[in-house]
């Protein structure tokens, strides 16, 4: 599912640098990494230019790139001696490069400390997160700060998005610590002069278009975390350095003994938990599993886990050729969640249930092996949770608190043991998912038969679900069959075979309502205008008249200034101008300006007055709105020009839209229906599935549907 696979993830290698002896290539896994061929890439380059050209270029053969000669092709398992007499050791060439040179180039300077180091040696791409010794030359942190800091380091390093960190340090023997204290002085010098950095490098061979995505997901999920875990073990017990010394010594011996590479690798992965952890990283990550490391340090066993999280669902149909997302659960349950909904307390608890991705008994048994006290309540959670029960409902039981439920659910989902789905319900409609993976049909049909021997065969059942999607309970033969049929549904859900068909609603405002509200608003505007006749409006009319007088008698200076503040301005400037004749503004112009201004204002006032009057008459002539029982069918002539209006989000409706909503509310005669409308209309935003209202409002499904049907004209 994820983009990492054993084709683009070539190997993992540990490189260290030492202050005296310089860089060393400690270990790599898998053992045999042959030189990657450049040719494939070249051909790809050509075809990027021209698809038709592809064939041509392949038949003629692309020009081979210059390549360091001796080591082309597969790596041998045994040692051999060249003509010149030098011994060729199989593990001293990795991916076509001499391991010695790789060690040199993969030990970058301190400025790369805890930063992305991405080096491409075409076609090999190396990605890592180099860790350097602190400036003082000692890996071990000063005792005081070490504990808190290290714990923090580990937390952020290994599992930032995970409820309880999977690392459990089992203190093996506290006495060892003391024993070491004694030897401290002599090891002091050794520590300062030994390993100066280590670097766990991931060798990749990505296709051009996937490079960035591959590097990003591997770097943030795996590379960083593993290197940090190694750093933790190094800080606490010199783990990386001690193991590296052992591995290098074993390699030297094997070189002398001419031991076969496969034998040496087997030995190393058995004897060194560092080598074994690298094997686990490669095997698990390239297969897209969760890698669980066991670092057997002197202070106890560290067991960090790392993984690239898998997507659990897709929100929209992926394109036909997108194989990575085929077969995933198709749902908008997560994608349509608005920020408001997420912030609303309890929203997720009510809308989601836990669907275990594996057999319940198996998971409970796995947890049973763990002596951790939380494991038993987690097992309890796995037993209690049903895909038909929301987290909220599980939390209602007396055994677990809602907080525990949330925490465990997150834990299960992160570690790929479960997914969160909207609770299954027989009244809901489930149909064959357009994203289901038909390639799996023959295998899954067999598994289905084993799991439900008495049920109809899988193809028949899928046909039943898909031909005419309808509520699931109509597919169930009788009420007694219901639990079994819900289990079957959960099985199908897990395999991505089915998806819920949800209904979404929007509020449509019919012309009748539009007209009614518009009519009301108009009436109100007119009402405001007429009711204030004694107030502002009359004065404005009045002023207009007075200025008219002033103008006609040319007694502009004495005419009382109209109340409007804008008019006082010219009046004043005019007086000033007259008092100071030396001003450039001749008074005659001011007088003319003033009268012009007066005339303009008067015209505006007249016009407004006339318009208002016209409006009132027009309004009076309009057909008064009539409320019919079924507004959607009202085809009265006065509604002809109006098209229905869709309210996109009733929660955020303002102004006219909110008036439409209350106008609609008034139409409900029944008190209960009216309050149902007030309650539910916020869900008619096209994002909240109507199927979820019952969960959200804690109502019976049947009741909800009846109400929704009534609200629908």
């Amino acid at each position: 599912m994820s983009c990492v696979n054993d084709e683009n993830f070539v190997a993992v290698a540990l490189v260290i640098n030492r202050s005296r002896d310089g860089p060393a290539f400690v270990f790599h896994y898998p053992s045999h990494v042959s030189a990657l061929s450049n040719l494939a890439d070249k051909a790809k380059d050509v075809d990027a230019e021209d698809v038709l050209f592809e064939r041509l270029s392949q038949s003629s053969g692309a020009e081979p790139a210059p390549e360091p000669s001796e080591n082309r092709g597969a790596i041998r398992d045994d040692h051999y001696v060249t003509e010149s007499g030098s011994q060729v050791v199989p593990w001293e060439h990795v991916a076509g490069f001499p391991a010695r040179d790789l060690a040199g180039i993969l030990t970058p300077a301190r400025s790369y400390h805890k930063k992305l180091f991405q080096l491409s040696l075409d076609p090999l791409l190396c990605v890592s997160y180099p860790i350097h010794v602190p400036e003082n030359g000692k890996w071990k942190k000063p005792k005081k700060a070490s504990k808190a800091k290290a714990a923090k380091d580990l937390d952020e390093g290994i599992a930032p998005d995970e409820p309880n960190p999977p690392v459990r340090v089992t203190k093996a023997e506290p006495s060892k610590e003391k024993a070491k204290e004694g030897k401290k002085d002599e090891t002091e010098e050794e520590k300062r002069s030994s390993m100066t950095m280590f670097n766990l490098v991931f060798f990749l061979n990505p296709k051009k278009h996937e490079t960035r995505e591959l590097v990003d997901s591997l770097y943030s999920n795996i590379v960083k975390k593993v290197n940090k875990a190694y750093q933790y073990s190094q800080q606490h017990s010199e783990f990386v350095w001690k193991e590296s010394k052992r591995i290098l010594a074993a390699k030297d011996r094997a070189r002398e003994e001419k031991k076969k590479m496969s034998a040496l690798w087997k030995e190393l992965t058995q004897n060194s938990s560092l080598a074994a952890s690298m094997r686990e990283i490669y095997d698990a990550v390239s297969q897209n599993r969760i890698a669980t490391l066991h670092l057997d340090t002197v202070d106890g066993i560290l067991t960090p886990s790392v993984q690239i999280p898998v997507p659990l669902f897709v929100a929209d149909l992926p394109p036909e050729d997108d194989e990575r997302h085929r077969g995933l659960w198709l749902t908008t349950a997560n994608a349509f969640l608005s920020q408001d909904a997420l912030e609303e307390p309890g929203f997720l608890d009510r809308n989601f249930a836990l669907l275990l991705t594996d057999d319940e008994k198996k998971i409970v048994a796995e947890l049973g092996n763990d002596r951790d006290p939380t494991a038993s309540s987690m097992a309890e959670f796995a037993r209690l949770s049903k895909p038909t029960m929301s987290f909220y409902q599980v939390g209602q039981s007396n055994t677990l608190t809602l907080d525990q439920v949330r925490k465990y659910a997150q834990h299960f989902i992160f570690w790929r043991r479960a997914m969160a789905i909207p609770p299954l319900h027989p009244r809901d409609i489930y149909m064959v998912s357009p994203n289901c993976d038909l390639e799996r049909l023959s295998q899954d049909a067999q598994d289905w038969q084993t799991a439900f021997p008495l049920a109809p065969p899988l193809p028949t059942f899928l046909a039943e679900l898909s031909v005419m999607p309808r509520p699931y309970k109509f597919i169930t033969p009788s009420k007694a069959h219901r639990p079994l049929y819900l289990r079957m549904l959960a099985w199908l859900m897990r395999g991505g075979w089915v998806t819920q068909l949800c209904t979404f609603a929007y509020v449509v405002v019919w012309p009748e309502i539009l007209y009614e509200v518009d009519y009301e608003i108009e009436a109100e505007e007119l009402g405001v205008a007429t009711s204030s006749v004694d107030g502002t409006d009359t004065t404005s009319i009045h002023t207009a008249q007075s200025t008219l007088d002033g103008q006609s008698t040319h007694s502009s200076l004495t005419s009382p200034p109209p109340q409007l503040p804008s008019q006082q301005q010219p009046q004043q400037s005019q007086t000033q101008a007259q008092a100071q004749p030396n001003m450039p503004n001749p008074s005659t112009t001011s007088a003319a300006e003033h009268s012009a201004e007066m005339a303009r204002l008067e015209r505006i006032a007249m016009k407004a007055h006339r318009e208002l009057a016209d409006k009132a008459t027009a309004h009076a002539r309009k057909v008064a709105p009539v409320a019919t029982t079924n507004p959607s069918l009202n085809e009265a002539p006065h509604l002809a020009g109006l098209t229905p209006h869709i309210i996109v989000d009733p929660k955020k409706a303002t102004g006219k839209e909110s008036r439409y909503l209350s106008a609609i509310a008034r139409r409900f005669k029944d008190e209960e229906h009216r309050s149902a409308w007030q309650l539910m209309c916020k869900y008619f935003d096209g994002r909240c599935a109507l199927e979820r209202i019952a969960l959200q409002e804690d109502m019976k499904r049947k009741k909800t549907w009846t109400l929704v049907t009534i609200l629908r004209p």
């Binding site: 991405q118 349509f336 193809p459 979404f504 869709i646």
Partner: protein
Amino acid sequence: MIQGIFYARFFPQEGPKIVAQAPPGCITSSDGQRPPLVDFDVLQEYIIPRQAFCNRYVTINSPDGKYTILGYPVVIRNPKYMRNEFIFNFGLLVEAECDQTPYERVVRCLAETFAEMEKQNEYLSLSEAKGPDGDGSRRPIVSLLEIVKEDLNNYGECMIPVDEASTINMKLFPHHTNPPAVQGWHVPVAKTKFNDIIDPTWDITLQKVVAKIDGVSDVRRIAHEASVSLDLAKIAIRHLLYYDTILLLDIFFFGSCYAPRPGIHDFIRNVDGIVDECASYVSHGRARVSNYLLIRFMAAFAPGKSVKEWIYIHREMGFELMSYIDIRRFVQFGVIKGCLYRVHKYVVSKQYLASLASGQSKPLAGGDPLQKYTDGCHNMDQIMTEQNLTNDQVMERLKTLPVPRGDISVFYK
């Protein structure tokens, strides 16, 4: 964007050094004023690496994660050089975020051209002997680099005469991923006006195929009508797909089902005027259909409801859809814009499926040609185009398959 371009060289005495760079001071400080964009002391071991890593494309990110250096260190072995080798690298400095694939060709081209020029007439080593300004007859390398950078950044290509004999021609090509395989039952729809861009120098097969793309015909039909073999028609169409000049849709039948996808909400909300766009695409004849009606029509699609049924339902409500809109265009608009998806029909034989799972039988060589389609992995469009049958004919033929009663199921997804 190329932020910097440089020519680095290994000197037997001084070690790796930047000989020329543009803009000045981008890799190593030249005037001591502006700090360089990257730390050359840290990066030099990747610009001039050990010989095992030379003669290949090498890239490295800067420690701050802002830039990437793209280079191609070259070693030329010859006894005439001091220490018998000449090592150099022409590299680019680009932002780490930008798409680096187009620049790979540029770096390879620079390395190949200058390696060849050095081999033929010691272009690089001679210019050094004569000092930084050259002998006056040739352009100094630094100005050459400057032009390469400017032209590639501004025009995406460059054509620079280096000396009497050689010219550097380079162009940045965007990287497209390989398009999916084209199938006989796909319907190509043009996104570009082919008539405006086609010219007689185009491949003849491609010209024939392009002429038959009408947004209705499937690939098989196009191949037939263009008198081109189906395989060649598929390649030609894939070629058009690579350049993003067409889209692939399904065959339109009135008997097929279409169902809404999440994109339908954008249609209802008329995001970016999508409904108005739809109206002008589908309206025919008299009046433009109101947005409200278009939204209502679009939202009325559902799984389990064929286009035919969808038309009947609207007819009962008093809307004769045919006279308002072009139904095929309306459906195609919905599919293209992600409002609708086609619900495909599949047939599966339980007997055949079981035999596949157990690996007992492979499709019989002389068996019924329809049998191989009954594993549920082939949709009806495929069966129809490959077998040249209609839907009804296929269903009739399936009845005659020698299987137990009730063995064949039909499902939709």
